[in-house]
């Protein structure tokens, strides 16, 4: 491990000051991804800004119809509030429960999961279909970004070196909607996502009134799948329409991975089909 310096911030104010002052820094909180990269020498020579003690960023609260989660909340912190979450965000809870192991959920934070920009991040697809907004702060300004627009490439996010993700907010979906999530993985714990899908669906009389779909692991980053959504809106939920969606979804995904080896293409076909079957219901 090769680190230049470590700065510890106790408050948001201290943190954005440190970020403004020092270039070439990485923010660390749970460290479940960053420490591995440091140990393996994938990241070298940078300074760390440790935000793990910033208590004001560790919260889960419901204000009116909106849920706010502080970026420094661990997966376990959020899951401890499970009982106050409405049923309509069940898939968000399931996504957090599918993260790693109890030890990883106790250390890893939701802010870290988002800012890593991993295409396989478990918490992101549900947050995309919930239309979550990210509040980002720097010494100069505070801004709000749609989570969907936050991801720019594999591991690349819309966050300046002087900026800090403060919180994640989303509106509770209406009572007729349900949020389904499926993570396709090899085993039942400590498993890396092969592909995941979140769908926020409103079904009335077996007709899909509205649907939002987001995937992880089928693109360079987690994305909203509008093309897939349009194939289902207004349609009856039957095997024929579902099969049409599944076949189209495979084509959509295959287009993105044209240059990849055949084994990988087969894997993605199987995972998108299996995961979609689990969430469109």
């Amino acid at each position: 491990m090769n680190i230049a310096d470590v700065y510890k911030a106790e408050t948001v104010k201290e943190c954005i000051k440190l970020l403004a002052k020092h270039k070439e820094t990485k923010i660390i909180s749970g460290g479940t991804d960053l420490v591995i990269k440091l140990n393996e020498g994938q990241i070298e020579g940078i300074s760390l800004v440790d935000i793990s003690s910033i208590k004001e960023l560790n919260f889960v609260k419901i204000e009116g119809n909106t849920i706010h989660i502080g970026s420094n909340s661990t997966f376990s912190d959020v899951l401890n509030h499970k009982s106050i979450f409405p049923k309509s965000i069940k898939g968000f809870v399931e996504a957090l429960e599918s993260v790693g192991s109890p030890q990883i959920r106790n250390a890893g934070t939701i802010g870290g999961n988002i800012c890593n920009g991993s295409p396989a991040a478990d918490s992101i697809p549900p947050l995309i279909v919930l239309g979550a907004k990210l509040t980002i702060i720097s010494k100069k300004r505070e801004r709000i970004v749609d989570i969907e627009d936050f991801f720019l490439g594999k591991g690349k996010v819309d966050l300046g070196s002087n900026e800090l993700l403060k919180s994640i907010s989303f509106d509770i979906p209406n009572e007729d909607s349900k949020l389904n999530f499926y993570k396709y993985s090899y085993r039942n714990a400590l498993s890396i996502t092969l592909g995941s899908v979140a769908a926020l669906i409103d079904i009335q009389n077996n007709i899909v009134q509205d649907i939002k779909i987001a995937t992880g692991g089928f693109s360079a980053y987690c994305i909203r799948e509008r093309e897939m959504e349009e194939l289902m809106i207004g349609k009856e939920l039957n095997e024929e329409n579902l099969n049409y969606l599944l076949n189209s979804a495979k084509k959509i995904v295959q287009k993105r991975i044209e240059t990849f080896p055949n084994d990988f293409k087969v894997l993605k076909n199987i995972t998108i089909e299996g995961a979609l079957r689990h969430v469109i219901r």
Binding site: S101, Y184, Y186, R187, N188, A189, L190, S191, I192, V266, L267, N269, I270, T271, E273, G274, A275, R277, H278
Partner: protein, 746 residues
């Protein structure tokens, strides 16, 4: 048999508190004054000649010395059967991961930085990675003129399938897999009173001492091996690794040296399970009686032989399963390739072949139109049966009882509700495992029992506690003889200077072999004590003298007593006794007929699986496991082995595969090499079947390997039951399942 007081009770593990409280000392935990740190430079290509330039690296900050083949002070070779490994490579690289040099520096960081500065120039040679191709005459040769290490045959009766009413055949492919023990290799060495001391985590300290003496050019009496706590082994610690390098460095530098592998290096350093291609053909009469079986086995030994002939022999002799078959023919080969080397792993060849014989017998039952239970009931070994090697089963053959117990429980399991969204299936498997090195090889355990100055019983024996519970079992055997609590027995097993050789913690042999030696020495010591007590108490004879809680008393007049401590004060030198046990096996003839192993252990397993038809995710959700143990010395430890063995077999069936590309392990991390977790494990009902083995200590047999064998075939049979797809290649990952199920993705 007399009533037993300690044997059969689930005593708490002797090493339990230390293990769960973190007090156990592993080599990783040891820090000595002025200790140097070492790292190993390993080859990155599979087949090449090479030159090294260490000039720049040796001048780096903190570097003490860089060791290469030139610095080996004894013979630059090692190996459990053949000396085909080198301490450091001097001629030719045979696999990715061969050790080229050892950088010793003042700090670990300096050693790592310097290692990057060693220049390696490879002159790559064509490699061979497929065992079938490796047998071609023009294939690149790994060692010598031929890549074939062993070519064995077994013949019993005359195989003639035209006499059978039903014949089925299939080819099974089992992958190379990793032991995945939790504690990676680590070793520390230092000099103490002119003696070289090596601390490591090994399965056989006395063998390590012998190999060190050859490679270092030292006499064995000038080396002491101390076995620290061992974080799992499963066969992966039988071939020497890190300890030979630190020992050489300490011998030369006269300073303590430590080495610890990370997970990725651990994947590279030790052996793997032999991948095998197993072709089986089996024939039966209309009534279900199996009359002929013909098997062909091809095993990939990788770059080194390790235990190749022994593993192959076990695979060949066990390929008929726990069944009596009149006519058998088997051909088995093991070959060198440029893949990672394979060797001992839980089941030692017997695990691989069970994937075949337990599936093909289900296929046969289907062809015959009889149940999977009926076909087994008709063919299993019973008292008086003869195995494929014509060995007579004369006692303790409770295969029928194992099968019956599983059948009964599976009826209950089948009545439980099923998940309608899932494909549900049920499968069973039986297995057989013969204990010991076998084939007439002298399989010896030695032991000394003594009374110490506190009047306590001390056991001295070179067995190793690798997690299987050997320390607890030996203490229970000794305490049974002396009628005292097992916590009063002092076990010494870690120091080669103090304890006699008791062989490897391998081949499921410690409970049976060393257990017998411990029992013998304790019984002899008890006789000595009774005779001395008779003398001290002024009695006419020793009739009616009993021992209990470290004293001797007269049953008819209990106040007439003398403590072991008092006896020690007078007869110190007499209170010691040796015990030795040699297992009875014979060397087989040219057609592999004979009595190669003893005793044999059996089991039966039934499982329920659920398969998600949308994703191919397979979960084992219920199961029942009946295990023959002869007699359970410690039932809770037996159940622990059953759970552990099952989960290892579960990984074999569903998850694990060393992903090789031109000899390179691509998934050498636990994030990419998938082993089961607690959440993948069903609640398993465990039934211990007791049918005492006449020659075992209190009737006990070893079960360490047996418990892992039936898991994979039972799961595969259940997958077939659920999906009607027969998987012959492991592992059945969700992707592999979906490719075959419905043929949608081919």
């Amino acid at each position: 048999m007399d009533k037993l007081n300690i044997v059969g009770k689930s005593s708490f593990r002797v090493d339990g508190i230390d293990k769960i409280s973190g007090r156990s000392i592993y080599p990783q935990d040891i820090k000595l004054k002025e200790m140097f740190h070492a790292v190993t430079l390993r080859s990155t290509v599979p087949h090449a000649t090479f030159t090294l330039n260490t000039e720049k690296a040796s001048k780096m900050s903190g570097v003490v010395k860089i060791f290469t083949a030139h610095d080996v002070t004894g013979k630059n070779e090692h190996g459990v059967l053949f000396k085909d490994h080198q301490v450091f490579m001097d001629r030719k690289i045979n696999r990715i991961g061969d050790p080229l040099a050892l950088v010793v520096a003042e700090t670990l960081k300096e050693a790592k930085v310097a290692m990057k500065e060693i220049e390696v120039l490879y002159n790559e040679l064509p490699g061979v990675f497929c065992p079938l191709e490796a047998m071609n005459e023009d294939a690149p040769k790994i060692h010598g003129d031929s890549n074939i290490i062993a070519n064995m045959k077994l013949e019993k009766g005359t195989v003639d399938f035209s006499k059978c009413d039903v014949v089925v055949e299939n080819t099974f492919k089992v992958p190379m897999v990793e032991h995945a023990f939790l504690q990676p290799e680590s070793a520390v060495s230092y000099i103490e009173d002119d003696k070289l001391v090596v601390i490591s985590s090994t399965q056989y300290p006395h063998w390590d001492r012998f190999e060190l003496s050859l490679a270092l050019g030292l006499k064995e009496e000038n080396i002491k091996v101390l076995n620290a706590a061992v974080g799992g082994a499963f066969g992966g610690r039988e071939d020497i690794t890190s300890q030979i390098h630190v020992a050489l460095a300490t011998k030369t530098l006269k300073k303590p040296v430590k080495i610890t592998y990370g997970r990725e290096e651990s994947f590279l350093a030790h052996s793997k399970r032999h991948p095998m291609t197993i072709r089986m053909k089996i024939g039966a009469l209309k009534d279900g009686k199996i009359t002929a079986m013909k098997n062909e086995i091809l095993a990939d030994s990788g770059a080194y032989a390790s235990w190749a002939p022994s593993v192959l022999r076990k695979a060949m002799t066990h390929s008929t399963g726990p069944y009596e078959i009149e006519n058998v023919k088997v051909n088995a080969k093991s070959v060198y390739t440029n893949n990672p080397f394979t060797g001992a792993m839980r089941g030692f060849g017997a695990t691989q072949v069970a994937v075949g014989y337990e599936q093909i017998i289900d296929q046969l039952a289907e062809e015959l139109g009889i149940s999977t239970y009926e076909i087994r009931e008709k063919n299993i070994l019973r008292i008086g049966s003869k195995t494929g090697t014509s060995q007579t089963m004369y006692n303790s053959v409770p295969v029928d009882r194992c099968l019956e117990a599983v059948k009964k429980e599976m009826e209950i399991i089948k009545k439980k509700p099923v998940n309608k969204d899932m494909l549900t299936g049920y499968g069973i498997a039986l297995s057989i495992y013969g204990t010991g090195y076998g084939n007439g090889f002298p399989d010896v355990s030695s032991n000394i029992a003594k009374i110490n100055s506190d009047g306590k019983i001390e056991i001295f024996s070179g067995f190793t506690e690798v997690g299987q519970g050997a320390k607890t079992v030996m203490a229970q055997i000794a305490s049974e003889v002396f009628n005292t609590s097992s916590s009063n027995i002092i076990i010494n097993c870690e120091d080669t200077d103090k304890v006699p050789d008791s062989g490897t913690a391998a081949a499921s042999r410690q409970t049976y072999n060393t257990g017998n030696a411990v029992k013998k020495s304790c019984e002899k010591l008890k006789d000595i004590i009774l005779n001395l007590a008779q003398k001290e108490l002024g009695l006419n004879n020793n009739i009616g003298l009993e021992v209990k809680d470290e004293l001797v008393y007269l049953r008819t007049l209990p106040s007439m007593e003398i403590t072991f401590k008092d006896l020690f004060s007078k007869y110190k030198d007499e209170l010691s006794s040796k015990g030795k046990f040699v297992a009875q096996t014979t060397q087989m003839d040219d057609l592999s007929q004979g009595a190669p192993y003893w005793p044999y252990g059996f089991n039966a397993l039934g499982v329920k699986v659920e398969i998600d038809p949308a994703t191919g995710r397979i979960n084992v959700v219920d199961g029942v496991f009946a295990q023959d143990v002869g007699r359970a010395i410690n039932p809770r430890l037996v159940e622990g082995q059953m759970d552990g063995g099952f989960v290892m077999g579960l990984g074999y069936a569903l998850y694990e595969d060393i992903n090789l590309v031109d000899g390179e392990i691509k998934n050498r991390k636990f994030s990419s090499y998938i082993i089961p977790t607690a959440k993948d494990m069903p609640t398993l009902k465990k039934i211990i079947i007791e049918d005492p083995e006449e020659t075992g200590p209190f009737g006990a047999k070893g079960i360490g390997e047996s418990v892992t064998i039936p898991a994979a075939p039972a799961i595969l049979n259940a997958i077939y039951d659920a999906s009607k797809v027969r998987f012959t290649k492991l592992p059945v990952t969700p992707i592999e399942f979906m490719k075959k199920f419905g043929n949608k993705y081919d």
